[in-house]
Symmetry: D2
Subunit: 143 residues, 4 copies
């Protein structure tokens, strides 16, 4: 499936429709965007740190959810506004050191009503994978 | 297993050690705390809303993670500081209306090194369950 | 939602349509069946044991999947034939001793297209919970 | 980490210690075995089919669990006998056509006490991925 929005169009939509998503201190940057594949970098600020300086679990969950939403918007434009996460599972592999995180999302299923996204989170400080997630999205109304 | 800290002692610890966890706009209130069982109410502010006024998925994931951490601290005091989430799964059942959320955590396994917590999230606006989560915690160092 | 089939009608359907599901050595008995709630007992034979005599994980996953399918059939009759599991998560809490297992399924969401089932597995040998599962089903075609 | 057993040594151990695991109708073949990476082919027989001829979900869950156990045995020899699955999540992407399945396991974390395995299942009939799983193993006793 081809992309219908550029990264700029997606973030323009988010800034208008969903401004609080972008105001919680995660500074996002699209590294690459292709059909069914997005690499999104996030810079966490001090609000996202746990004692010891590692980045918190909820910060990584928010990054995963946001990255998938960006990719679905790029594919389906404002129609993806109705997409709902039906479930999300995440494994935390190592405590990430402070520094940017790279979320690599791949749609391993991209159906008319259900999509499944796998996301690896890499700590750019040392290049190691720190988390792995799988999430299902339902395109449509109430389920 | 008995509790070693009261709710006030837990939040005193969090305010000192982990202040940013409590400054992201979720206003927490311990409704009840008993061995292996915590009910924690959260009031989301506008930063936690999605378009349409529903509370976002990452907000609920953050609530689950925080509630479990509070319960583990109440049981193990500062020793739980080292507890790490190894994985978390959450199913989103319905879009929560604006209003307080109640996270009901139960430790269904509470071992020396591994604990498993099940959490129901109830929307107090209509009394319906909006999410269900299961998470595993590892007490200790690097895994 | 009300039930449309009795337990006997469900198992009659399974014996006709899906005989191999019932021939893998798990001996099933419906303990109670009510709207959105099924308790299903399974007696494992030696094919389901791991060294040390505990019941294997795949045996418990099969029990969960079968129990949910039985409950969906009771609700939707042969229409549930098209139900597909979209994802299943299970936590193993304790090694079950040999003896019957009781799977307690509850539909915590029962929508037109998506249903979410939570299942506790209890070891009847000692009354303790040995596993906890959450699974999502999609009623319909290709997803 | 290096491997301590060959595939033949692993299966020799399983045949002695855990014979029923290999007698449920799945015919396993090790396609490749390297540190932290195993490709395991399984041929399902008719006991593993659902109506319509697709391979059942529990069959795929059993394949995932078995493949990870084989890889842990190859790394840790009989010490892995004590490994317990703490949790397993699987997403079903497409209904597999009849024919061999290839489980590709990768250990994305391989710690002293906790390991996390990601497994893709590919249907060799058409080369498409049919399931994706993530599972955590605890090396040790009661947890």
């Amino acid at each position: 499936m081809e992309l219908k929005w550029t990264a700029d169009e997606v973030f323009g939509f988010l800034e208008t429709e969903f401004p609080h998503a972008l105001q919680r201190g995660l500074d996002y940057e699209v590294v690459s965007l292709a059909p069914e594949a997005l690499d999104l970098r996030a810079r966490a600020d001090e609000r996202h740190l746990r004692p010891g300086g590692t980045i918190s679990g909820p910060t990584m969950m928010e990054l995963v959810d946001c990255a998938i939403y960006v990719l679905l918007l790029a594919h389906h434009r404002e129609q993806a506004r109705l997409a709902v996460t039906t479930n999300l599972a995440i494994s935390f592999l190592r405590k990430p050191k402070p520094g940017p995180l790279l979320a690599m999302v791949r749609l391993i299923k991209h159906g008319r009503t259900l999509s499944v996204a796998r996301t690896d989170i890499i700590s750019e400080a040392d290049g190691r994978q720190v988390a792995s997630s799988e999430a299902t999205y339902f395109m449509g109304g109430a389920g």
